[in-house]
């Protein structure tokens, strides 16, 4: 073990070897410059604008700016609509995720690709598509109007619909992956104990994917909160009714840049809170529930 019982030369040789090893390990850990320089630039590119937001923030005027009733309306509307969209996504998206993960029907993989399309679709296009479907003259919108008198475009409900359309796929892919990876053995065990498929889903499957469900819901909520393109296209930009925070920021940037920065700051804080919450979840996943 130690060099004490070796002849001194051998001990020296060992020490030298370990120094060499340490150098070798160091050089293996060193970052080659063709990777290091772009990496630093990328990090700066992502962080500097955020730092700029903090530097240029009108800290003194902040309470006054945020107390403005239009700002408060936008914030309230944003939180309400994002939460409602997340609720809808949970109620309808989780069953869809289960079907996508578990069904062996033909065409399921094509369906999976299609329902996650809004992930990559430009949100404005989503908004146009929603207008064509649920607009007053849309395929479904006309029927909805005729039968119930409800019209969705340019209403708060329309904001929720637009946000759900854009954000639900985030929940679906997260939860679908969790369903796919979950151990079917527990479900079989529950079945042999007399549980019906629905009971198995409720008492075993869903609790076991709890962390993924939460992560998916948070992602969905954050995406809904930041929704801009589909919302402004489908629901318009009416203060107090359809003007969410991102729309308010965009409008304020022209009339009152300081207010825009203040609003952006609020969204930044919310985003950081979401990220922190998710990280905590991800770190604890796999240990004691």
């Amino acid at each position: 073990m130690t060099s004490k019982d070796r002849p001194p030369t051998a001990g020296q040789a060992t020490a030298q070897r370990s120094r060499q090893r340490a150098r070798a390990v160091q050089s293996r850990d060193a970052i080659p410059w063709p990777l290091g320089i772009p990496a630093v630039l990328a990090a700066l590119f992502l962080l500097v604008p955020l730092a700029g937001l903090l530097v240029r923030a009108p800290w003194l005027g902040l309470p006054r700016l945020l107390a403005d009733s239009q700002v408060l309306d936008a914030l309230r509307l944003s939180l309400l609509c994002a939460s409602a969209a997340t609720g809808l996504a949970l109620v309808f998206g989780v069953p869809l995720a289960w079907v996508l993960a578990r069904s062996e029907l033909r065409g399921i993989s094509a369906l999976r690709a299609l329902v996650t399309l809004p992930l990559v679709l430009p949100p404005v296009v989503g908004g146009v598509a929603l207008l064509l479907a649920f607009g007053r003259q849309g395929i479904l919108g006309r029927l909805l109007d005729e039968w119930t008198g409800i019209t969705l475009p340019f209403t708060t409900a329309g904001v929720i619909v637009a946000e759900t359309f854009v954000a639900m796929p985030f929940l679906i892919i997260t939860v679908e992956g969790a369903f796919r990876a979950s151990d079917r053995g527990f479900e079989e065990a529950a079945a042999t104990l007399g549980a019906s498929r629905l009971t198995v889903f409720r008492t075993i499957t869903l609790p076991l994917i709890g962390p993924s469900l939460l992560a998916g819901a948070v992602l969905c909520w954050a995406r809904a909160l930041g929704e801009f393109g589909a919302t402004i296209t489908f629901a318009g930009n009416f203060p107090g009714r359809t003007q969410t925070m991102p729309l308010a920021v965009y409008v304020a940037l022209e009339s009152d840049p300081e207010a825009a920065v203040a609003l952006s700051l609020v969204l930044l804080v919310v985003s950081i809170a979401v990220l922190a919450g998710l990280r905590d979840r991800w770190l604890t996943t796999g240990t004691a529930p």
Binding site: G185, F186, E188, A189, A190, A191, T192, L193, G194, A195, S196, R197, T199, T203, I204, P207, L208, G210, A288, P289
Partner: protein, 387 residues
């Protein structure tokens, strides 16, 4: 322990096909009987278990529990797992990680309609009966493997099953806990009034736990019988290896009591008690037989033995030596090849090493020939188990 003290027999006769794999099984487990299903990996043990528990449907044939048809491919009757009165203890236990021990055991009563309080009371009764009350509030990851096995058994029993299936119940345990858990498991199973099937690849476990063995190889039942029968007259090389016996196939010449072995060589044998030739004969002059020879019944010599007694003597070469707990197993390449058990002192005395030329001898009285045991558990064989 069960709600139906009379108990019903579990009877299966059918096949399961999954891709290119085919399992064909014909078995009957009587009420209160512990039947061990023994076989190498990939033999179809788990498929059998899944078919019996309702996690998989038969391709053809039937499964019945008493008068109740659980699966009948011909009439398209299939009772799924959730509706079968089955208690299944999985190899990896599959305790629900998000529930504590009590709620794991309360799961079956709860999903079968009991209120939360009542289900927990039922669970507490079972935990007490299996001496697990101290663990009630622990999560599955906070208990040992042996405890998890007992909790899994309690969870299965709390469903009030009419038959029990245990998949490799002890294989996940280390050697020390295994002894203890095996003893406890055995005593719990003795109180169960329905049929019990234990899936295992461990012959010792099968012999100790079970009243009867059923050996599966390559998707077919190759032998059924009591542990003693299987140990004495193995039907296949796999079983012979499990019980540590040399097994040879050959043709018996009835008049001379000589067996011409398929692997070469000739043995003079004793016929088994139940051999037709021993009780008057069947009239055939030759017929195929199996010859079983215990490794400890073979003597090893370095010079040709000169005894005149009726011995089987043959020549060979040592190819391997393996140290067992209290003896050495010598592998001899000869016609026929053999495993021989001798003491380590004898290995030293004879200076055996791989390559040593040796002579083997075995008394005719130790060399028993028997007809290949019936595999599919025909009615004649079954009545013998009962008598």
């Amino acid at each position: 322990m069960s709600a139906n003290p009379g108990g019903e027999a579990l009877v299966m006769s059918g096949t399961v096909e999954r891709g290119s794999f085919r399992l064909e099984a014909d078995l009957r487990a009587a009420p209160g009987e512990v039947l061990a299903v023994l076989g190498p990996n990939g033999a179809g043990k788990t498929t059998l278990l899944r078919a019996l528990s309702g996690l998989e449907a038969l391709t053809s044939g039937t499964i019945r529990l008493g008068d109740l048809t659980l699966d009948d491919a011909a009439t398209d009757t299939f009772v799924p797992a959730q509706l079968r009165p089955v208690g299944l203890v999985f190899q990896s236990y599959r305790l629900f990680p998000h529930l504590d021990v009590r709620d794991n055991v309360a799961y079956a009563p709860r999903v079968q309609g009991a209120g939360r309080r009542q289900a927990r009371a039922t669970a507490d009764t079972w935990l007490e009966r299996l001496d697990l009350s101290a663990l009630a509030t622990r999560r599955p990851h906070q208990i040992s493997g042996g405890q998890a096995q007992q909790v899994a058994l309690a969870r299965a029993l709390a469903a009030d099953p009419r038959f029990l299936l245990l998949d490799e119940p002890l294989s996940a345990l280390d050697a020390r806990t295994r002894l203890d858990v095996r003893a406890r498991l055995r005593s719990h199973l003795e109180q169960f009034t329905g049929p019990v099937l234990i899936i295992t690849h461990d012959p010792l476990e099968a012999m100790i736990m079970a009243d009867r063995l059923l050996v599966i190889e390559n998707g077919r039942v190759v032998q059924q019988g009591t542990p003693a029968q299987v140990a004495r007259q193995p039907a296949t090389q796999y079983v012979a290896r499990l019980v540590g016996l040399n097994l040879y196939t050959g043709t018996l010449e009835v008049a001379s009591h000589r067996v011409f072995l398929d692997a070469g060589g000739t043995f003079t044998v004793t016929l088994g008690d139940d051999d037709p030739a021993a009780s008057g004969g069947t009239g055939e002059s030759t017929r195929p037989v199996l010859v079983g020879l215990r490794p400890s019944a073979i003597t090893i010599h370095t010079v040709r033995p000169t005894h005149a007694s009726p011995r089987n003597v043959w020549e060979g070469k040592v190819v391997g030596l393996e140290l067992l707990a209290d003896r050495v197993r010598v592998q001899v390449d000869a016609t026929p090849p053999a495993l021989v058990d001798i003491s380590s002192a004898a290995v030293a005395d004879l200076a055996l090493r791989p390559g040593t030329a040796v002579w083997l001898s075995a008394k005719a009285t130790e060399t028993e020939a028997y007809a290949a045991p019936a595999a599919a558990g025909g009615s004649a064989q079954r009545s013998r188990y009962r008598s």
